[in-house]
């Protein structure tokens, strides 16, 4: 009896902690998203019109081979059983076998994932490191209608960069830096210099959009009354901008820009194909073309998880940065 009340009290106490409530709710949200993702990846194969095995092996393949392959993939079982098997295999880390190479898909992923992850993380970091100081500086320089020409140059430049997709940026970079100047290799992943162009191609667009958001948010924050308070304390400009304006602008920026960073995970697909980067992006394209469905399924799953992970990081960062965070409360 007393232990029940004690545990209820502990439970109530835990519920009262906003951080635990946030963690519980966010975890629930993540689990639902993962479930939707896994189910989507499973259904993807079953929504393909016709027989995916026949499509993969071609029209000339003997009926026995197709039948044997169907049996091996479990495609003759009832749908619910296939779903259960799929989930069970996923939990044991078994992503199936490539229909083309016969290699375990988990091995393909293991080989290819690091290259993609490197690219994504570097691009992600570059975009953040470039956009925040740039956006802040632009906001400070152009606040209250100062320096119109600078503002015009920045906004039109960033709009242009934002609208050009990463694979076109990549082609442009290859043309300028590899073909014309010969500074960087055209393709492949060999040595540090081969990282420069893919990372640039992937991060330029998001960086310019982020910088624009940082600028707009900073301009809004600079109008806030607490900035006037900070000025009334006669703090040096540097401190007003970095300590008072920036943290507030960042929370708003992360809210708006979070999805953008998730989009970079998918952006690797195009960048990798321009630079023949040996990552998941080139794998998924060749697998789709070769109708190697187990590999496609697994890569989609990995990309989806990557996106969910980025979204989680964004939400946690937001909750940490902003004590009033609506994310934690709502």
């Amino acid at each position: 009896m007393s232990s029940t009340t004690a545990s209820t009290a502990v439970f109530a106490h835990l519920l009262g902690n906003p951080w635990l409530r946030f963690a519980a709710r966010r975890l629930g949200q993540l689990l639902v998203s993962v479930w939707v993702l896994v189910t989507g990846a499973f259904l993807m194969i079953h929504l393909i019109p016709g027989d995916p095995v026949r499509a993969a092996l071609g029209n000339t393949a003997p009926v026995e081979l197709v039948e044997a392959r169907r049996e091996a993939l479990g495609l003759n079982n009832p749908l619910w059983q296939q779903y259960a098997d799929y989930l069970r295999h996923l939990f044991s880390g078994d992503f199936g076998t490539s229909m083309l190479s016969g290699m375990p898909v988990s091995q393909v992923i293991g080989d290819r994932l690091p290259a993609t992850a490197e690219l994504a993380v570097l691009a992600f970091a570059l975009a953040v490191v470039v956009s925040i100081p740039l956006g802040l500086a632009m906001a400070v320089l152009t606040r209250g209608g100062r320096r119109r020409p600078v503002e015009l140059a920045f906004t039109s430049g960033s709009v242009l960069l934002a609208v050009v997709p990463e694979f076109l940026v990549a082609v442009g970079l290859v043309y300028v830096f590899s073909v014309e100047l010969g500074w960087a290799p055209v393709a492949m992943r060999q040595g540090a210099s081969s990282y420069v162009l893919p990372v640039l191609a992937l991060s330029l667009g998001p960086a310019s959009v982020l910088a624009r958001i940082v600028r707009v948010e900073t301009l809004a924050v600079l109008q806030a009354e607490y900035i006037r308070t900070a000025r009334a304390k006669r703090l040096p400009d540097r401190r007003v901008y970095l300590r008072h304006a920036l943290p507030n602008a960042l929370t708003a920026t992360i809210t708006v820009g979070g999805l953008l960073l998730g989009g970079m995970v998918a952006g690797t697909v195009l960048a990798e194909n321009v630079f023949a980067w040996p990552g998941l992006g080139s794998t998924i394209v060749s697998s789709i073309l070769a109708k190697d469905y187990p590999v496609v399924q697994a890569v989609v799953l990995v990309y989806g998880l990557g996106v969910l992970l980025v979204n989680l990081v964004v939400d946690v960062a937001l909750a940490l940065l902003d004590p009033r965070s609506t994310i934690r409360e709502s």
Partner: protein
């Protein structure tokens, strides 16, 4: 503005016009290019394969000797057509999903909303790739893939927009009138959200054009022998060393077309959305009014001396020559209606007016230092330690993401050279001084954990981090409820008494000023119209505006059967101050002379100053004991 006029307005902006021309050219090319150059684009010439750009072949030739430049032109149709098809599909599906909550009712609608929210979290490209697996590589697979990939975003937008419209009165009225869900949607909701949806569909078309180029580039879109820009780009990239033009020309085409759609969309969004004023007016000349009279009483122990202070924003000058002196320990109140320039005066004195605002004064001395001529380097320390500011709304005056203690300690770190620890200790001590219970614990809290009154006390505490000689309080109690108001005023009084601190109190509440201050400055249209001891306010006010202000304050003796007294007319427009007395249009005493000539603020020999041609006169007809009332209510048709 009608919607047609607004869309026409898009064309009048330079960007909008350029984008519209570009978009028109792209669409025209899509229609005409295959008719005009279809033959040349498919002309195989095995003698000239993979040639670099030349006068004959502007972008070189491909592996069958076909002219790449003409292929790019002809590919416009395929590229634009497929992009528009995918957009149409995406918009249709998005509309269906987005309006589902309205059509299916709350329960099913919530399910759809949740599904859309999860789908929105995944990047469009990933969705498009997944759908491309299902529909297979090729144009017929890529159209639904891209269409379905943009659908969730569009659904989300439709949901939010329709939710706001569906909550409005006219939709509720239609529902009550028994109009069916479908009809409500078609007749009442969709027409009201059509414009933003159209704008976003335009931008989505640009997006799907780029996405389609991406898929074709990857080999998942248009298949040979068909070709679009993406495919040409992919083919050209392989030979980028031999012939860069083969990759760059289709790339440029994609960018131009994508830009055309996006810019038209953005220009339209600006035209359709709420208008924000652009550009600030700049003007350099201050208006020349009569010079403000100089108040030289007791300047020896003056904390603040202001002479002929002007604040201007471009050609508008909301503060037009204000002069006053604050002695040590003295409390002066500035009263006036909104827009009279009282807050700007306070901010100008505190050197907190930001560009494009400009401050000028014949004299602006604080503790004997001329603020307008002190080198900027020396100013922060003086102002940071000796001048305390208290603002109107304590909710927004604290930085929401910093702990209260840090925000106070900052002052000591910055100006007194304290280290982190001692600065924070001082902050706790100051919080205690402004009677915040549990100061040490409170210092570690964020502003949103404080109540309004506590925040304002903490704000005063922040001013006490240095050793203030002057507190400028701009409407410090307006945002607080009445009991808390009294506490804050009492605290300000205690702070002043303890260290002989002067105070400049800005308020629209003449009662508060009368209660707290020694002297009252009445401002109207950017000028001081009367300056008198607070004790004389009730009986000794000589300016009709001051009397009208007093008359507009209800008290226990006010007849509650009568409508509340207001000052008739509207405050003067700061953009166009009249040549004569600014109050004349609303003044019961005004005559022709008042309209023509501006009265100067003159010493009345009784310890006050007043700017009025009829100072002290009573309006006609004089009703015993109700002079003020009749002045204030004239024109109300009584």
């Amino acid at each position: 503005m009608t919607s047609r006029a607004r869309w026409a307005g898009v064309l009048r902006t330079p960007v909008g016009a350029a984008a519209a021309v570009l978009l028109g050219a792209v669409l025209l090319l899509a229609v005409l290019a295959p008719l005009l150059w279809g033959g040349r684009a498919d002309e195989v010439d095995t003698a000239r394969i993979l040639q670099p750009a030349s006068a004959q072949h502007w972008a070189g030739t491909d592996n069958l000797g076909r002219d790449i430049f003409f292929r790019v032109l002809v590919a416009t149709r395929t590229s634009v057509q497929l992009a528009l098809l995918a957009t149409a599909l995406g918009v249709a599906v998005g509309l269906l999903l987005g309006t589902a909550p309205l059509l299916l009712g709350p329960r099913l609608g919530r399910l759809v909303t949740a599904a859309v929210n999860i789908a929105v979290a995944f990047p469009g490209l990933l969705l498009a790739l997944s759908f491309a697996v299902i529909f297979g590589a090729g144009a017929s697979g890529a159209v639904p893939a891209i269409g379905l990939a943009i659908a969730p975003g569009f659904a989300r937008l439709t949901q939010t927009l329709s939710a706001t419209v569906a909550g409005r009165d006219f939709v509720a009225a239609a529902r009550i009138a028994g109009v069916g869900r479908f009809r409500v949607l078609l007749r009442h909701v969709l027409p009201n959200i059509a414009e933003p949806l159209l704008v976003n569909a335009t931008m989505a078309a640009g997006g799907s054009l780029l996405a389609f180029a991406g898929l074709s580039f990857l080999g998942l879109g248009v298949q040979a022998p068909g070709y679009d820009w993406g495919r040409l780009l992919g083919e050209g990239l392989n030979g980028i060393y031999l012939n860069p033009a083969a990759a760059l020309v289709p790339g440029v085409a994609v960018v131009l077309a994508g830009l055309a759609f996006n810019l038209v969309g953005e220009a339209a969004a600006k035209a359709v959305g709420p208008r924000t004023p652009t550009g600030t007016v700049r003007g350099d000349s201050f208006e020349d009014g009569p010079p403000a009279p100089v108040d030289r009483t007791g300047q020896s122990e003056a904390v603040l001396v202001v002479e002929d202070l002007k604040v201007s924003f471009g050609t508008v000058t909301p503060v037009r020559g204000v002069g006053f002196t604050l002695r040590r320990g003295e409390a002066v109140g500035i009263v006036g209606e909104s827009g009279s320039g009282k807050s700007l005066t306070a901010l100008a004195v505190a050197q907190l007016i930001e560009q494009p605002g400009r401050v000028a004064a014949r004299r602006l001395d604080f503790l004997g230092d001329d603020l307008l001529r002190t080198p900027p380097r020396a100013r922060p320390r003086l102002l940071g330690t000796s001048l305390a500011m208290v603002f109107q709304d304590p909710t927004t005056s604290f930085n929401p993401v910093q702990r209260i203690g840090r925000q106070l300690a900052e002052v000591a770190e910055q100006h007194l050279g304290d280290r982190r620890g001692p600065a924070l200790a001082r902050a706790v001590d100051r919080l205690r001084a402004v009677r915040i219970p549990g100061a040490a614990r409170r210092a570690r809290q964020f502003p949103h954990e404080f109540s309004g009154g506590m925040r304002q006390r903490a704000m005063i505490g922040m001013g006490l981090m240095g050793e203030p000689k002057l507190i400028i309080a701009d409407e410090p109690t307006t945002a607080l409820d009445v009991t808390v108001q009294r506490q804050v005023l009492a605290l300000l009084a205690a702070v002043r008494a303890a260290d002989d601190v002067a105070m400049l109190l800005i308020s629209h509440d003449i009662g508060v000023v009368e209660q707290v201050c020694d002297r009252v400055l009445v401002m109207y249209a950017g000028r001081i119209v009367e300056d008198l001891p607070a004790a004389q306010l009730r009986d000794g006010a000589r300016h009709p505006y001051t009397r009208a202000l007093l008359g507009a304050v209800p008290d226990l003796a006010t007849d509650r059967d009568q409508p509340l007294v207001v000052i008739p007319g509207r405050p003067a427009d700061p953009a166009a101050p009249p040549p004569g007395c600014a109050f004349a249009p609303r003044c019961p005493l005004a005559d022709d002379h008042c309209v023509r000539a501006d009265p100067a603020l003159l010493d009345d020999g009784l310890g006050g100053r007043v700017a009025c041609w009829h100072a002290g006169e009573l309006p006609e007809p004089v009703r015993a004991g109700a002079a003020v009332l009749s002045a204030a209510t004239e024109g109300e048709g009584r």
